[in-house]
């Protein structure tokens, strides 16, 4: 009956929280989840999302028990050389 929402890196700092748990009612897509946690605003284009640890789209479906994550573009690997 719930969806776990997690935030990483700079987005976590901006949200001011590491994770939260939402009631699943009324949440059909990743986009719905974001609206629920992000004060109703649409998901910014540069924010990535994952459902159950697979990359997802704003339109990807979510269901009870899912883990949804939001995070900024990834920056792993070798450090930027500049």
């Amino acid at each position: 009956m719930s969806i776990r929402v997690r935030y990483f890196a700079s987005l976590r700092d901006r949200m001011g929280r590491v994770e939260e748990t939402l009631a699943a009612e009324g949440l059909a897509t990743v986009s719905d989840v974001w609206k629920a946690v992000g004060e109703g605003k649409p998901l910014p284009e540069q924010i990535l999302c994952a459902v159950n640890m697979d990359y997802a789209d704003p339109d990807s479906p979510v269901k009870d028990g899912d883990e949804v994550a939001f995070f900024p573009p990834v920056t792993g690997g070798q450090q930027r050389a500049r």
């Binding site: 994952a50 792993g76 450090q79």
Partner: protein, 125 residues
Amino acid sequence: MLQQRGVSFGATASFVGTMRDFNEGDPVRKMVLEHYPGMTERHLELIVETARRRWKFLDALVIHRTGEVEPGDPIVLVAVWTAHRGAAFDACREMIEALKSEAPLWKKETLDDGERWVEKNTSGY
């Protein structure tokens, strides 16, 4: 280790990415590498599997450090063992590019006057 992987491969290509002490014009003192436990590991495995299907290499290893690192520390290792050297180079390079664009990993730098998240990644060269 290289010498114990049997005798059917003839080529080993590897890449190590190391923390530099400068970024975007600023000296960097240290860095924290954040990951998404579970998803990061799965995506590193996926990168290996994708490359294995494409190049039929014999073996590959991808290791990415997490947590606090200092300048000079290795951050990432990609190693590929194959019969032919062309495949070893191609697969190794493709895997590090895939890792940089797909693996959920983020860097926060400590500068002289504070911290900052690295916002975008180098696209290669």
